[in-house]
Amino acid sequence: MAERLRTIARSPGTWVGAGLILLVLGTLAVVAAYAGGLSALGPWDWAALRFTIWQAALSATLSAVLAVPVARALARRRFAGRGLLITLLGAPFILPVIVAIMGLVAVFGRNGLVNDTLALLGVDRVSIFGWQGVILAHVFFNLPLAVRMILHGWQAIPAERFRLAQSLGFSAADMGRHLERPMLREVLPGAWLAVFLVCLTSFAVALTLGGGPSATTIELAIYQAFRFDFDMGKAATLGLIQVGLCLLALGLSTRVTVPAGFGAGLDRDIALPAPPGWRRGADVLVIALAAAFLLTPLAHVILQGLPNIVGLPDAVWTAAARSVVMALISAALALGIALMLALAVASGQRWVEAAGMLPIVASPLVLGTGLFLMLRGVASAQQMALPVTVAINAVMALPFALRILIPAARALRADYGRLADSLGMDGLARLRLLTLPRLARPLGFAGGLSAALAMGDLGVITLFADSRNPTLPLLLYQLMNSYRLDDAAACAVVLMAISFALFWAFDKGGRLHAQL
């Protein structure tokens, strides 16, 4: 017991985990305390709760199921531009919501490409507005995340196992049973969970594309409580429900996750067996469809905004520079914390994983209000705006970074932990010689994702916005609210390009350093 306690006290991951719980639940408690307790929910709130869970479950299931064939096709085929395509396919996940919605409407809307094609074929037009639009948008945003997580799973199967399977004359079905399905059993629940949690706090997507209040999410109910009813008790109740849902989903996904246990390989970069014949055709088709679905809306956003970039006001470039610095700090923070947490999780402290996933469902409004109440008297919200934005963006990116790092950290511990322990490799030496090189690839990916997410995120804007030193996403909203929609479209392209460049640089860096 004493030994166990000592390990816990020594591991920085546990302290950070406790800090996160304090941040998410503490802000909730402060808001509830301010309101003098929690308030009861009305019938519309329950309807919103039902819709929220339903759409999140459906979006997550679709994203995860569709991601499997895409990831498999990308894992086993080699073609020119494959690396670039994989990176590009990640782009929707890092787009600011409003920009993505405009892109989707342009492609799937009433006068969009899809409906014009349908009309040419003599088929009835379909509407993007309604629950189907919400699901479509959520799959658009999250399919890239699921594909990348599953692709990592495929790449994590040591190539030696595939070669052994080939020399034993495994059929495709055997390969599936012994290699691919165990890997999916390990990776898929995590991917599903991540998408489910993202969709749980969806706000603008659900409203704009949902077509009306039949597609209301909990986050809107929180907003209404905050903005018009000033019912902080209700905001806290709803925030608490989100946290409860997160823990429930996390528990479920842990139960169905089974470690694959492939063991370590020699890290030789050998192409996966690529079955010829109709499977080849199917893979080509899958990749083409995924690329068309994910990249056409992006192309529209770019075409729309490109002509106006030259005339953009200087404020855009100042904001861009500010945002890049902030995103880099956020990413560094997120990576440091995520690494500590992932190592703690891998060493058997499962609750730390739950702590790390909590921020994903923390309502930005409740979190912001709680922080505002905590910090008042200490510093003004204006002074705190940018530091709070940096910190919150780091914390919000954490769950994604964790989902990427945890499987890798577990494998690292299973494969090399005992050897390193027996060599007495500890502290900095272990970090430098074992952990960082072995985790470079997932670290690069996680860092890129964190930086890109921080770049595109508004933070907890309502109370902590420094509008005179705006970040790029805030400036984009300001442009839209001043009728300057053309400038906003151009600003969106700049934002997208920078997010993408940040993501690419980190990801590339990780892959370079992964070569042992």
């Binding site: 409003i98 405009m102 009306g212 209404q224 000033f230 560094a332 919200a381 509008s467 705006p470 805030l474």
Partner: protein
């Protein structure tokens, strides 16, 4: 880590430290869009600092929730950008002091007697259309309800948007007991309900919808800033719902004289003269002939609907229930 701290310091330093004005500080809370170079904020700051011998510190964000959270410990001396329809709760908080302004000479289409909240600009809700895309726009509200269902409009959600709330009260004021039927007729034409104004307006300019819920003054932006005269407001004889933006003084202010001076400034010709093109709505105290010509020539409704804050607050919840019952099946 040290680099991070330095970088953090660098980004948090105000980028444009407009020559620090000397004298006491007056803190003004304003909505987010005020602060940009395209909003009215910079002009207000420059104009007021010229006459006050003080430093006007503009703090932006969600003004009312923030003031309510801070209570009487707020740093704000004055606020600007509150909306009619949400002032009852603000008044009941007791945080605001009388503005002390003479209300004669206001150029509002309604009578204004409020001694706490002072309007600085106003407009009415209206549906905006593009004359090149919609040759025969509905000419009455009833026409809109009876229009074929392939006329598509975008509105805003009354639970998250102030213009959405105006629309809710507009329909309730025009149709009263028949509001549910009106919403039922409108529903097939509502392509989508967006959380805020900008998403809906974006869909309109992209051509996804034929009409969008906005303001009678929205065409002014397109004429004034883009020389585009194709965007028009559909004017309905049933009347249009009035909406003003307000300024107020905090009772807890430690600069009451400066705060009073700011209230004077809000109604001064300097402020009133720039607000039309800075905020794209009608100034609250400026004769029509002093407006830019195209602004004065905008189509005007004959009837303006105005609810007192008590009426608006009483109507809000039942009207919201009706709206939800139609839209959330």
């Amino acid at each position: 880590m040290r680099f991070a701290a330095l970088a953090l310091l660098a980004v948090t330093m105000p980028a444009t430290n407009a020559a620090m004005a000397a004298g006491p500080e007056l803190t003004l809370y304003a909505p987010d869009y005020f602060a940009t170079e395209w909003g009215p904020g910079p002009k207000i700051e420059a104009g007021f600092e010229k006459i006050c011998g003080c430093d006007l510190v503009m703090v932006t964000g969600d003004v009312l929730p923030r003031i309510m959270l801070e209570g009487d410990r707020t740093e704000a001396d004055v606020v600007i950008g509150l909306n009619t329809d949400t002032t009852l709760r603000a008044r009941e908080s007791g945080l605001f002091a009388p503005h002390g302004q003479d209300l004669n000479g206001l150029t509002l289409p309604v009578t204004w007697t409020d001694d706490t909240f002072l309007p600085f600009n106003w407009s009415e809700t209206a549906f905006i259309y593009d004359a090149t895309r919609l040759a025969n726009p509905p000419s009455t509200f009833q026409d809109l309800l009876d229009a074929p269902d392939d006329l598509k409009i975008a509105i805003q959600d009354p639970r998250s948007s102030i213009s959405g709330l105006s629309m809710l009260l507009w329909v309730k004021s025009v149709y009263g007991d028949k509001a549910v039927e009106a919403w039922q007729k409108l529903r097939p034409k509502v392509l989508t309900v967006t959380p805020g104004w900008s998403e809906a307006y974006g869909m309109f300019t992209e051509g996804e919808v034929d009409m969008v819920l906005s303001f009678t003054t929205s065409p002014a932006y397109h004429i004034g800033a883009e020389q585009d005269t194709t965007k028009r407001a559909a004017i309905f004889p049933e009347g249009h719902y009035f909406m003003a933006e307000l300024a107020a003084k905090l009772a807890s202010s430690d600069q009451p004289e400066l705060a009073a001076k700011f209230m004077d400034y809000v109604l001064s010709p300097d402020f009133q003269g720039m607000i039309a093109e800075a905020n794209w709505s009608y100034p609250s105290k400026l004769p029509r002939n002093q407006l830019p010509a195209y602004f004065a020539a905008l189509d005007r409704p004959e009837r303006t609907i105005f609810l007192s804050e008590t009426e608006a607050e009483e109507m809000r919840k039942p009207a919201l229930e009706e709206w939800l019952s139609v839209f959330a099946q």
